[in-house]
Symmetry: C2
């Protein structure tokens, strides 16, 4: 592959939409994605990496268009049978999806790094971008709620984000190292832009930033860092961003998000529905339609984010 | 369940046919099956128990009638996807079948015994018989061949029994204990018969007999022990029994099998095609059609084996 030109930080479904747009408008090998692994978890003896897998499936054209997660053309015999045996069925695993979890778990147990496993799968799926976990070390997002502290998937899937969030912590982050591939990509002199995809800042991007050395590596790169808003008109297109912001006593506004990323980002992509807020930003803003319904929306938003970054240019 | 009246030793497919016959002609709770776990293996991070699972599926009416193994109404998305990811695909695992392996592996890792896991699954599947592994400790059949020593499933499935067998050993057997449920069933005063199902004596029954204390428990029971021939006209109905006997320099005859079980059995069920051999047996013989094609064949053979055992009666 050619050297990375664009690096994007992303969580799962929302972020992967823009990641796909970037992938499609860039040439083979130009895109590196650093993906949240804080929502990885151990379930049924398997290591499951929801955000990485959503990214893999999305870029490979294998994502399930109806569900928004998992694989297309999926069957559900495993889950149905597991239920009949009294097994845990709150986390829905399709038969094809399961193959990735089983193969990953086998390789991790054999001593491969998560980066190596994801790279091998991406190659198998014909993906011409570099997909990296933020770290090869386990980091696990824990959600302090009114119902006690919960593992992320317990909160997110089993309890459907119903508990009130009080705080988030990223267990293992302090001892984790940035994935070597991510450090190398961030140090590449030809890197032209770093994009924070429109993922949940608290659940999806913060775990990435919590890995020691990640913020410094982002800032050390001369490439401009651009955040794309995950909020439109005070609401998240997908997921509980606005709900969680409310519970954390934060105004559910793109301004809050920009402040959250202050010191890290050089520009902010704001949705046209929030254009009135633009003058209040303390940094360059690009206003556009950020809602990605069709594939063409993803490509257009990707192109606009890249041009915006090019306009801002490299830091001295 | 009521107290066990009949105990049968069985391997996989061939043995499970008679096991099903016994199950159908007996009342709920009267049958205890002690099943070979020597062909259990660890694969893709899962503990897979082929003979136990074939027994579970057969008694639950879930066995795949076309394949002869696995579950009926099965899908194969997992296997197909695993292959596309470059995973190992020589051992075919259906999507529904996989649920049992994942759930079993999870429970074993949580500290449950194999007996407890199988009992729970059997109860879930509505099976009104006791199905027990020969031991809760891992015993692994190893096949010494002209291609070196092989794990059983490597020999049996991956290499399709092609290598020439020189010897068999049951790794872990010396340190294994008979499953407590099997000891209890064998010690039950009301036990009326012990049946060695028409499984491969070397691959399926010998591992059971290799567990220290199993032979003694069989002999201590007052119940007559009856073997049903796995050979008909010098051939096995299913599997490599005759091939292996040739490779071990044994005449592929029911007489060889009876001699192999000598000191253990009190009667032998011989196929009508081999009736001419009957006078050469040193113990009571019942001659009948032992080929089980239809369900009625299984029930008839089960009834005949039970009457034969009743005619022989309890030992003093």
């Amino acid at each position: 592959m050619s050297a990375p030109k664009i690096l994007a930080l992303s969580g799962g479904i929302g972020g992967a939409k823009l990641a796909l747009g970037l992938y499609r408008v860039l040439s083979a090998g130009e895109l590196t994605l650093v993906v949240n692994s804080g929502d990885d978890f151990e379930h049924l003896g398997l290591t499951i990496c929801p955000d990485l897998d959503t990214t893999l499936y999305t870029l490979a054209g294998l994502a399930n268009p109806e569900l928004g997660w998992g694989r297309r053309d999926e069957t559900w015999t495993f889950m149905k049978t597991l239920e009949s045996l009294g097994g845990e069925s709150w986390f829905r695993l399709g038969d094809g999806d399961l193959a990735l979890h089983v193969e990953r778990t086998r390789r991790l147990k054999a001593g491969e790094t998560l980066s190596a496993v994801i790279a091998a799968v991406a190659a198998r799926l014909g993906i011409q971008a570099t997909i990296l976990p933020m770290s090869d070390d386990p980091v696990r997002t824990r959600v302090a709620t009114d119902a006690g502290e919960l593992a992320f998937q317990d909160y997110f899937v089993r309890l459907r984000c119903a508990p009130q969030v009080r705080a988030l912590r990223f267990a293992g982050a302090a001892a984790a190292a940035v994935a070597p591939g991510a450090l190398a990509a961030l140090a590449a002199p030809q890197l032209e832009a770093i994009i924070l995809c429109p993922s949940n800042p608290y659940l999806s991007v913060d775990p990435i930033l919590a890995v020691p050395g990640m913020r410094a590596a982002l800032r050390s790169s001369g490439a401009p860092v651009i955040a794309v808003t995950p909020l439109v008109g005070g609401q998240a297109i997908k997921g509980p961003t606005a709900k969680i912001m409310g519970e954390l006593r934060l105004a559910p506004s793109p301004l809050t998000i920009a402040r959250h990323y202050s010191g890290l980002i050089d520009g902010f992509v704001l949705d046209a529905r929030d254009a009135a807020l633009a003058p209040q930003f303390a940094l360059p803003v690009h206003v556009t339609d950020t809602v990605m319904v069709e594939l063409t929306d993803r490509e257009r938003l990707a192109r606009e984010a890249l041009s915006f970054a090019a306009r801002i240019g490299r830091r001295a």
